[in-house]
Assembly symmetry: C2
Homo-oligomer: 183 residues x 2
């Protein structure tokens, strides 16, 4: 399950971490190369389109990360309300652990590049589709009508994304915890 630590994997992992903290534009390839300890030649070998291709892979890896988190939580919390609370707690923990620097792993990259970059926009859409579908499943499993589950999962993701932004500005997890009370 765990990927083998190739240069390629290290590049994507490092890019994801740095884009999440400092954004896409202000993260230089130099820094990614230094921290991942990958050679520059490898970057353009694995990602011929350069920074954008690397970002695409980083968004995809981030999508998997969130999907795995949701799946794990869904297994332990079948009640929607419990699930939402647990999900918010995960994000709140991430924020606290990083001194409010690591919010949503794709939000900053998306705000900087969507919809200008078709490649990254598409990766972002895929992320939204997958996250919302997984959450809608939780709602449907508890008996909620499909259509309502779709809408609600979209609203939840929106509320959390916004809460992560405000949490970062205020350096407080309260906005995230307040999301749970909305549903």
């Amino acid at each position: 399950m765990t990927e083998k630590p190739s240069h390629r994997t290290n590049l994507v992992l490092t890019a994801m971490r740095l884009f999440r903290r400092q954004g896409y534009a202000s993260t230089g390839l130099q820094q990614i190369l230094a921290e991942s300890k990958a050679p520059k030649g490898s970057l353009y070998y694995y990602f011929p389109t350069g920074k954008e291709g690397l970002a695409e892979a980083a968004v995809e890896m981030a999508t998997d990360l969130i999907c795995n988190t949701i799946s794990d939580l869904a297994r332990d919390h079948s009640d929607p309300k419990d699930f939402i609370t647990a999900y918010c707690n995960v994000y709140a923990g991430w924020m606290e652990d990083s001194n409010f620097r690591s919010g949503c792993p794709i939000a900053t990259t998306m705000l900087e590049n969507a919809p200008q970059s078709p490649v990254l926009t598409k990766a972002g859409e895929a992320a939204m589709d997958r996250w919302m579908a997984l959450i809608a499943d939780v709602f449907e499993t508890s008996g909620m009508p499909s259509e309502e589950a779709q809408t609600k999962s979209g609203q939840l993701v929106a509320a959390i994304e916004g809460a992560l932004l405000i949490s970062r500005i205020r350096q407080s997890t309260k906005p995230i915890r307040d999301v749970a009370d909305m549903f």
Copy 2:
């Protein structure tokens, strides 16, 4: 009421517009200077701290913009539900008019710089305080208890911020319109 079109004003106005569309890091001073038609010397005359000082002023101007919007809407819509719907419609209009490029005027700048930059973080906190206080007023005026009004206004702002992000990714106003149904 309208500010006189000095170089200073043009700089802040242009910075706000560009930061909103492309973010802070990927907007060069060159572009701001070219589009505002202001000379480079003026920038450092009015903003001795350079880009960061300009961004601070841009965030403050954006805060005023949103505050004015909220005040105007509050005058015409005393019912909270009506107000929320109208508020969402304003954002949806902004998104459509800009081909989903002009979302929240401070969100991208904040995700890129909070909490690393104390100056910009403080400007962001002030924005949140003022927006939420104005919206809470609308709720309180309609009879809602003060504490509940505070919480609800925070939740509304979070939901909208998140919806603006998703709207940008999906190039659709549906996420924004769905926010109105949450309250």
